[in-house]
């Protein structure tokens, strides 16, 4: 049931005539659901603005939320959802802020005396308009949260793949967690760039923190090693625990002539012996 132009106009008047009572009632309702996590004054200000938004949309005879007249209101709702999402409120708490406008309007209609059938029909149409607005906040809220998650995933990807200089001429990549294609790509790029930047002839890939080495993980590591070799660096794989070693054997993965060690310390010792020999 969409709002007719007449109904929209009538409600624009209601929202205008009862604005103070409406905003007070509305703010009290919202404040009760948010339990004091936003100050009363702040809510009062938000609701007053939203009321204005609704009033203007309806005065512009908006029949639903997608129309031209509701552009401003949509922007307000999107901003409200975004702030609430960032402040850590739930979707329900955000949507209830909008839903409770219905209660406020009903209370305003009640004060006018008798509520007849015509007013009720109007109210139902208006109510579906508010529902639409509340659903819109749901959508915006989810979108903002998804953006936050995507940002964090990106940050995590950056954080979780450091390349550290272990010794003069030796860089190490301590891998922690699941090595999927996206991360393997980041690891390879970082490692190759660090090899160029530091001019290191040795790289140690430490897989102590990788919970399971399956064929995909092994393939990613092998490709990284081959790429590093093409650039003239020697790669050592360290951190191969007993259970990982047995699994790799059962799977039939062969690391060929790539040096592998059980711990990072062993790998470093191995590299130092190698360089020591060469120096002499």
């Amino acid at each position: 049931m969409t709002l007719s132009a007449d109904e929209a106009a009538r409600f624009a008047v209601v929202l205008e005539d009862h604005q103070e009572a409406l905003v007070t009632f509305w703010t009290d309702r919202v404040a009760a659901t948010l339990r004091g996590r936003l100050s009363h004054a702040e809510l009062q200000r938000q609701n007053a603005e939203l009321r204005r938004g609704f009033q203007q949309a309806l005065a512009g005879s908006a029949q639903d939320l997608s129309g031209e007249a509701a552009t401003e209101l949509r922007a307000q709702l999107a901003e409200l959802s975004a702030t609430r999402a960032r402040q850590g409120f739930s979707t329900t708490e955000t949507a209830v802020s909008i839903f409770s406008l219905k209660d406020a309007v009903l209370a305003a209609l009640d004060t006018q005396g008798q509520v007849d059938a015509a007013t009720l029909r109007d109210y139902i149409a208006f109510s579906s308009f508010v529902d639409e607005a509340a659903l819109f906040t749901f959508d915006s809220y989810v979108r903002v949260r998804e953006e936050l998650i995507a940002d964090q995933a990106e940050q995590l990807l950056e954080l979780s793949t450091p390349v550290v200089k272990l010794w003069e001429g030796v860089v190490a990549v301590p891998l922690v967690g699941t090595l999927d294609s996206a991360r393997a790509q980041v690891v390879m790029e970082r490692l190759l760039q660090t090899l160029v930047d530091t001019g290191s002839p040795y790289a140690i890939i430490d897989i102590t923190g990788v919970p399971a080495v399956d064929t995909q993980v092994a393939q990613h590591i092998l490709k990284t090693v081959v790429a590093a070799r093409l650039m003239g660096a020697d790669c050592i794989i360290s951190g191969i625990r007993p259970q990982i070693a047995q699994t790799i054997v059962a799977l039939g993965i062969e690391f060929g002539d790539i040096a592998t060690k059980s711990s990072l310390a062993d790998a470093l010792r191995y590299v130092l012996t190698q360089t020591g020999k060469k120096a002499r």
Partner: protein
Amino acid sequence: MNEPGRRIEVASDQDVVRVRQQVRTLAVAVKLSLVDQTKIVTAASELARNTLVYGGGGWVEVAPADNGRRKGIRIVFSDHGPGIADLDLAFTDGYTTGGGLGLGLSGARRLVDEFDIVTAVGEGTTITVTKWCR
């Protein structure tokens, strides 16, 4: 004597990670040794990825198993993909149609105690694996 398991839809790389976590949790719960935990988790990872990559997605069911003498873990991987035309070839080490190492299917069979495969061209593939506590 098998309890119902938990079914996980496999439609993306994240789902393969979820399968792996679920298998690890259950493997710890039925007290598999650390080596066997790693083996079954790795096998599950291989087969779940096959379900995704070659089967075009499907589902995985992870359940505790009990044959009266021993406890273990049973995992079913099922898809409605193209099926496998030549099983002998598919189980050949190093054979791949997807650019991998060609060790996933054959390797997974070596990592588990029981391995059962039902496949038909054009209908899909269902693989059931079991790992028992030693």
